[in-house]
């Protein structure tokens, strides 16, 4: 990997960088849409490329079930299998084991789960996770970590410490595989919401800096308080080295992206923009629009006149989307395209957001930006964006 920071914001910690990987070049910061099962829901690879996306995420757990490692190997890797010409990142598969399987047990050896096909006990070890990711062939691969999102109490420390031990096993396995020049291994900083544990984890993982290509911040986006969230991100981003990309896992809400970039994050992924599109929600700079609601049925405006996405550029009206959403899959596709573009832009021209949640104001003050200075914008207390649940709202 070639990672070159190009510019740094004179006020915040936001930075622009260029990352050259085996398949293509990606400009950071970037938002990675999620192609769980080898396709961004409903879109073609060509369509995703036309949106200017240069880095997508595939899920290791799903791909190892279907089509399976054998077929991916025969196809020559996931890039060839799905016709994707740019960069790809795969997760370790660990998170899905915890979130999707009811029977997963974590042992020191690995994650023990019952196979969804035959119910047989199956073990995902750090070595196995890396091997599967080698078969998939993504440009960036993730260590298997002991996922902390759902943990409390002493398990948080145990998970953090185990994640370090597993990182060592992943590094070992990756370096001995001969794939090191094509695939880049990222470490995942754990430690829950406890700053002391995070510090400990950061110290241990920084010791291994020469053997990892980048760092991810895991264990967040699990419903924690926003004021806790941004402080952990800041703590990690501040301590992580300048010459490694920083990846905030599972982050996708507009304000979260804005804050993360200002705090020095380079990459983020989330299913939120694409999933919410399938439920009829279009993201905009002034908040989400629920286009299923009848109040949009006679609105002939495009979602966002200034948006460069094909849906808005064609002038596709809110009324037309209201007519087809939930009935026709193509409506979900039209909104997915839009939401991917908008999410990419949240990372770049974030100052256009019109309503600021209070926590954002606090977070950005920590890096020297006063959102309220010289600006007359409303501040809303609490979590942020106002959602349209019904026509009455």
């Amino acid at each position: 990997m070639e990672f070159t920071p190009i510019a740094k914001c004179s006020v915040t910690n936001a930075r622009v960088a260029r990352m050259v990987l085996a398949h293509a070049e990606t400009t950071l910061p970037t938002f990675m849409p999620v192609a769980t099962q080898a396709a961004i829901k409903g879109l073609t690879a060509e369509q995703v490329e036309s949106l200017g996306v240069t880095l997508i995420l595939n899920n290791t757990y799903h791909l190892s079930l279907r089509p399976g490692v054998d077929i991916l190997k025969e196809a020559g890797g996931a890039h060839k299998f799905e016709g994707w010409r740019h960069n790809m990142l795969t997760d370790s598969g660990g998170f899905q084991l915890v979130s999707l399987s009811k029977f997963t047990t974590i042992t020191e050896e690995g994650a023990l789960f019952s196979s969804p096909f035959d119910g047989e006990p199956t073990m995902l070890t750090p070595e196995e996770s890396i091997s599967i990711q080698h078969a998939i062939g993504a440009d960036i691969i993730m260590q298997l970590d002991d996922v902390g999102n759902l943990l409390q109490g002493p398990r948080v420390q145990e998970a953090m410490e185990r994640s370090i031990r597993w990182l060592d096993r992943c590094i070992q396995h990756h370096e001995s595989s001969g794939n090191k020049d094509k695939q880049n291994l990222f470490a995942i900083v754990q430690g829950g919401l406890d700053p002391n544990l995070r510090d400990e984890c950061l110290d241990a993982m920084l010791e291994r800096k020469d053997r990892v290509a980048g760092y991810a911040i895991g264990g967040l986006s699990g419903g924690e308080e926003k004021d806790v969230f941004w402080k952990i991100i800041k703590q990690c981003a501040d301590k992580l080295p300048e010459d490694r990309p920083r990846y905030a896992m599972g982050i996708g809400f507009a304000e979260d992206l804005l804050v993360c970039v200002a705090l020095g994050i380079d990459m983020a992924d989330c299913v939120f923009p694409t999933r919410t599109a399938r439920f009829g929600v279009a993201l905009t700079h002034t908040g989400p629009l629920n286009l299923r609601l009848t109040k949009h049925a006679k609105d002939f405006n495009p979602i966002d006149k200034a948006c460069p996405c094909p849906t808005c550029r064609d002038g596709t009206s809110r009324a037309f989307i209201n007519h087809i959403i939930t009935h026709e899959t193509a409506a979900a596709h039209a909104l997915t395209i839009h939401n991917i573009i908008i999410s990419a832009h949240f990372l770049l021209d974030t100052l256009e957001i019109v309503v600021y949640p209070e926590w954002c104001v606090n977070a950005l003050r920590s890096v020297g930006v006063d959102l309220l200075e010289n600006m007359d914008v409303p501040v809303v207390p609490g979590g942020g964006a106002k959602w349209e649940y019904s026509d009455a709202a």
Binding site: G42, Q47, I324
Partner: protein, 508 residues
């Protein structure tokens, strides 16, 4: 205008022919025999508009208006014209008037479900909130407001259970003629071209009578209404045959071709003949050969994409003859035999699935000034494979159908290109077409599963079955079905435990 360019047998009005339909300069020119694309709720199923544009086979898009009836007045009619007199329907659907030809009918021609009876004053149509009554006057207003390039007149085609009495059929042809006259009177010269849905059901005399009524010179007050036209037919630009209601009304030993011929025999041969819901290339070829049909909608090919079939056939047949077994019209990509098939859907196919990345790099959206253009990319122009489509179908990924629709539409367009070449006599005798049709029918297995004579016997039927299985396993309502299963299992367990307990306290 519709101009005939070649006719195989000029002594027959049912001869196969080629022609060009050009509404005005700047509109896409449609070569016939050719295709129009079906929509659902105004959209080509599975294709967002950017993918419609990528699919060059899509030039003529047909809209069934009835889905818009859920609001009153229908939403598209409320659209304020923004740039001059831009047609509302184009604006609403986001399809540029210079790139696409739009036609509009009230009913979805592929919908053969039973409906409440039509009357002298209205027809019944379907929308998501139930049945709506549409008067001839309503239809005039919708057509006037939306300005499709081509409007289908309102015809009284019964969707009540057959068979139909003599009296009902007579009513049908009288109303259809009357409503056509009303529409002609209401529209000005610059308004949409009118295609008429040919009435008369499965009765040969009734079909002939309807055609005759189009040609009759109109007198008296009615003549003033359509002045300066002398007969209804003068205002008609094309003839439409909906096969779904015909199949419902048809007796087993009757042929659709005979019915179409009965309608067309008295009429001028210079107008386009359009057939909806033809069941695949076999039926289309027979209708071209025996009736001289010019246009078909691609409902069948689009439905094949819905159920995971990638079409693969061509005209004239390029496969060597003399083989025992008939070839399939395509691939049922649900089939496990495609798990490791890394070949494309069709050799030499130019569709966005087989020849992707035709878009120039400068049309890719850039998110910042330093985004690098993608110049040195590996794997350029690699087609999507059958194995990938197989994977997408079994994981219930919508992208599968997107890729299949673009492919199938392209296969249909290329098929018709071949038909036009043979009829046009590009290097061959005039009997060539009939010979090539026979060869096609002898080479490919016909999709006759819709007609129930062979419900299991071909690749499309197998695909429909596999589609249903995956839909049940992974599709809409999966969670509630799974919850029900879990509940049943729990109940069984509780019952079992109760019984065991009653037998002697095993559980204690």
């Amino acid at each position: 205008m519709f101009s005939l360019t070649s006719t195989i047998d000029s002594s027959s009005i049912f001869s196969p022919r080629t022609a060009e339909l050009l509404l005005r300069t700047g509109k896409p020119k449609i070569s016939t025999p050719g295709i129009l694309t079906c929509t659902s709720r105004g959209i080509v199923p599975h294709l967002s508009n950017d993918n419609v544009k990528r699919t060059r086979a899509i030039r003529w898009v047909h809209v069934s208006f009835e889905s818009f009836l859920e609001h009153s007045p229908p939403i598209p009619t409320l659209l304020q014209p923004q740039h001059g007199d831009k047609p509302r329907l184009n604006s609403f659907l986001g399809l540029d008037e210079n790139d696409y030809l739009l036609s509009m009918s009230l009913r979805d021609p592929s919908d053969g479900r039973e409906m409440p009876a039509n009357t002298n004053t209205y027809v019944t149509a379907n929308c998501i909130r139930g049945v709506r009554r549409v008067t001839p006057h309503d239809w005039q207003e919708y057509v006037r407001s939306l300005k499709p390039d081509i409007a289908f007149s309102l015809s009284d085609i019964p969707f009540t259970p057959p068979s139909y009495s003599q009296k009902r059929i007579t009513k049908s042809i009288e109303r259809s003629a009357l409503w056509l006259q009303g529409l002609l009177g209401a529209l000005s010269a610059s308004s949409p071209m009118l295609f008429v849905q040919m009435a008369g059901g499965a009765s040969i005399p009734a079909r002939k009578a309807f055609s005759d009524s189009l040609l009759e010179v109109v007198h008296g007050k009615d003549a003033d209404a359509i002045h300066p036209m002398k007969s209804l037919d003068e205002g008609v630009a094309g003839y439409v045959f909906d096969l779904v209601p015909l199949r419902l009304a048809l007796a087993p030993d009757e042929s659709i071709c005979t019915l179409l011929q009965a309608s067309l025999r008295p009429l001028p041969r210079t107008k386009p003949r359009l057939v909806t819901s033809a069941c695949g290339p076999h039926e289309m070829l027979r209708l071209i050969r025996d009736v001289g049909v010019d246009l078909f909608d691609t409902q069948w090919a689009q439905r094949a994409a819905d159920v995971g079939v990638a079409l693969d056939f061509g005209f004239p047949v390029a496969i060597a003859g003399g083989q025992q077994q008939l070839h399939d019209l395509g691939y049922n990509l649900y089939d496990d035999k495609y798990r490791r098939d890394f070949t494309s859907l069709g050799i030499g196919c130019t569709c966005p699935s087989c020849s992707p990345y035709s878009i120039p790099a400068d049309e890719i959206i850039r998110h910042s000034s330093i985004d690098a253009p993608s110049t040195t990319l590996a794997g350029a122009h690699q087609p999507y494979t059958k194995a990938y489509l197989h994977h997408l179908l079994h994981t219930h990924e919508m992208s599968a159908h997107t890729l299949l629709v673009m492919h199938n539409m392209t296969v249909m367009e290329r098929f018709f290109e071949g038909v036009r070449d043979v009829i046009g006599g590009a290097g061959g005798s005039k009997d060539d077409f009939v010979m090539h049709v026979s060869k096609f029918i002898e080479t490919y297995a016909e999709d006759d599963s819709e007609s129930n004579s062979n419900p299991e016997g071909n690749v499309l039927a197998a695909a429909r079955k596999a589609w249903r299985e995956v839909e049940l396993l992974r599709g809409k309502g999966r969670l509630s079905r799974e919850a029900e299963k879990t509940n049943q299992a729990n109940e069984m367990l509780v019952k079992e435990m109760d019984e065991k307990g009653a037998e002697g306290g095993v559980l204690d």
